[in-house]
Symmetry: C2
Subunit: 117 residues, 2 copies
DNA sequence: TTAATGATTGAGCAAGTATTCAAATATAAT
DNA sequence: ATTATATTTGAATACTTGCTCAATCATTAA
């Protein structure tokens, strides 16, 4: 659906629209950024990230901290793994997860500042 | 569902779990933070925010920039309004939106750094 | 080898969400 | 007043998502 048909006047300020369009990131980058935010947009996943911000933890202990079933945690960890937000190491039967991205802590910190106000 | 029933050994490292738990934000704060990330977790909304990061825009022009129907944009703007992420001013028939939170630009900037790498 | 344990996976379901469409508001122009 | 325009809104729908349950895999212990 094009905007030509949506807005009867099509565009109010064509010059402004062009200017803004030129400075936007590529659609691909926008989608990727949204994906990163989406990874942090669920309380369970955010809780996991908050926990791993403090210490490396095995799946079972993450489950205990977050108070969500091991299965559910494992599903979410897979997503965080795919997003390259967490990494893991195996030690015997256990799998220890930790954060894999320095940007994450900054994002979480800013978000906390936001909600505290 | 408690973790006592989930993990056969309940908790691997009780001391670690307690320590982490003590340093976590309140559940309420976690949910609010997740809500903030969720607001930026959709490509359409993120595109809107990116645009408003550059200039104040009316709904019609946002629709043109993001290339999504005016109606859909309006629905998303309502959500961003509710989240106190954008504010607006009326001028005649038009409604101009702009960002209402200084944290947002920092979040978007960091997310961009993340995806560019 | 067999049993036990920590973790992963896939299917299914309930809840949430982004968009469309049609109708309704609000303001400006005729 | 009537018409046109910019925006908002509610309902409907297709899609996504987070969890549970059961089964499976991987590693260790007996």
């Amino acid at each position: 659906m094009t905007n030509d048909t949506v807005c009867s006047v099509e565009i109010i300020d064509r010059e402004k629209v062009d200017r803004v369009n030129q400075h936007l990131t590529s659609p691909r980058e926008t989608v990727d950024m949204a994906g990163l935010f989406k990874a942090l947009a669920d309380p369970t996943r955010l809780r996991i990230v908050q926990a791993l911000l403090l210490e490396e933890l095995c799946v079972c202990d993450i489950s205990a901290v977050v108070d969500v079933s091991v299965s559910a945690i494992s599903h979410q960890l897979r997503l965080l793994r795919t997003m390259r937000i967490v990494k893991y190491r195996k030690q015997g039967k256990q799998v220890f997860y930790s954060l894999d991205d320095e940007h994450i802590s900054r994002l979480v910190k800013i978000a906390l500042e936001h909600v505290i106000e």
